[in-house]
């Protein structure tokens, strides 16, 4: 590999000791920003779609709605698959969290939270619990009981406390830790058992709207996106913001890692989805069309990373060829905004959640 790095100025360190003024610090940050842009620019020797020129085009997809999950009384805001590839959890504006068997359409569990707008929900890796939260500024963990008659709400345990709404949550690789993102501008890592805050992540200058954990092989990092139009990559142990990307022109609603962990995609109110290469430290593709004018709210990759499913506020799901940058399919069916799309753990199906109160399974 040919690598390019730049040496930071020594002046900034010495300056602090001499009582650096605001003006000279601002000058320093401006020149560092310029240097970063230059360094990133030097690596821009080719476009992703050029490298992918010789790759076979994607064959026509025949994706159809195979299931419609009806049961929520209002907008479905979030969903997550269970590792068993058949169950999923969904949460709604009406305060309800439902666990479904997507094969049979059976509703296996239901919990009603005291707050409305349950914006985030996640299935625990063990399949034995779900996490959820929203306007209550909390993230709670609900153990799933085998006894259908048991009142799940009574066993609900508050784990995370933020000072504004909960926008996203994810268990780490075990049921023991929970990562959250919030309208209060921070992300945080919590111990589920004790409710203790293990690490907090500061750096966004507005609401954080989404987070995604790096695939376990790539180590302890996660990416977040927010209303400040930035996508930040964080070291989970130190709390350090290690990389930052600012190319979107509006709120970033969703971020998702590419399956290898070397890149991630984002969906934004600016009607584009973008693809960022972490080792080149820059955006390498923009998925957009003149005809797409509504914001993108959610993205997820197919198992190989070749397809990017993106849900939009115009009620459609566009399927993009990640490498060539072209759109390969549009999925119609929902009757309101798409809030979330997620590919099943075995890659056999796509689930979409919508403000039309339903979820759909596509395969």
């Amino acid at each position: 590999f040919v690598s390019v790095s730049c040496c930071p100025s020594k002046m900034a360190c010495q300056g602090l000791q001499k009582g650096e003024t605001l003006a000279s610090l601002k000058k320093e940050s401006e020149s560092l920003k310029k240097k970063l842009e230059e360094e990133r620019g030097k690596l821009n020797d080719v476009e992703l779609h050029q490298v992918a020129e010789k790759v076979e085009a994607v064959a026509a997809l025949s994706l159809k709605t195979r299931r419609v999950l009806k049961g929520h009384g209002n907008k479905v805001l979030c969903m997550d698959w269970c590792k068993d590839k058949r169950r999923l959890v969904s949460s709604s504006q009406d305060g309800k969290v439902i666990v479904w068997d997507a094969f049979t359409l059976n509703k296996e569990h239901g919990v009603t939270l005291p707050c409305t707008w349950v914006m985030a929900c996640a299935y625990a890796p063990s399949g034995c619990a779900v996490a959820c939260g929203g306007l209550d500024n909390k993230c709670s963990v609900v153990p799933l009981s085998l006894d259908r008659n048991e009142n799940l709400a009574a066993k609900k345990k508050s784990v995370a406390m933020h000072t504004n709404y909960l926008s996203g949550c994810s268990f780490t690789n075990s049921d023991m830790q929970l990562l959250t993102s919030s309208g209060d501008g921070t992300c945080a890592l919590w111990d589920v058992e004790s409710g203790q805050l293990l690490q907090s992540f500061h750096g966004h200058t507005a609401d954080v709207l989404s987070l995604d954990l790096a695939p376990s092989e790539t180590g302890n990092t996660f990416v977040s996106g927010g209303s400040d139009m930035k996508a930040n990559v964080w070291d989970m142990r130190s709390g350090q913001n290690i990389q930052s990307f600012e190319s979107h022109e509006s709120d970033i609603n969703c971020v998702k890692y590419y399956p290898s962990g070397d890149a991630f995609a984002s969906a934004s109110d600016d009607a584009t989805c973008r693809f960022y290469d972490l080792r080149a430290d820059r955006e390498v593709a923009v998925y957009q069309k003149d005809s797409i004018i509504f914001g993108a709210s959610t993205v997820d990759f197919s198992l190989s990373g070749r397809l990017l499913f993106a849900g939009y506020n115009d009620y459609t799901i566009n399927v993009w060829d990640v490498l060539k940058g072209t759109r390969v399919s549009i999925l119609f069916g929902h009757e309101n905004r798409i809030s979330r799309v997620r590919v099943s753990p075995d890659g056999a199906a796509l689930c979409s959640a919508s403000w039309d109160s339903s979820l759909r399974i596509w395969a």
Partner: protein
């Protein structure tokens, strides 16, 4: 924060934090897109056969697709 410090020190602390953050980012090792993109393409190609949504799988192996029904004679 000591009451003796002037109100300007808060913005200085913010500015210093920004400089520190940018220095961390500036110190990162980066690689050319021609190389990193080749790896992204390679990952897709290596995993394309095990991507059901990409290649399409038969109704008999996909639990969500309806199988043809049997008729008892």
């Amino acid at each position: 924060m000591s009451g003796k410090m002037c109100s300007g020190s808060n913005s200085i602390i913010q500015a210093q934090k920004l400089v520190d953050q940018l220095q961390i980012e500036a110190g990162m090792e980066r690689f050319k897109i021609s190389l990193t993109a080749a790896d992204l393409v390679q990952y897709c190609q290596e995993h394309r056969r095990s991507d059901p949504l990409l290649t399409g799988i038969s109704a008999s192996s996909n639990p969500f697709k309806d199988k043809k029904t049997c008729v008892l004679l």
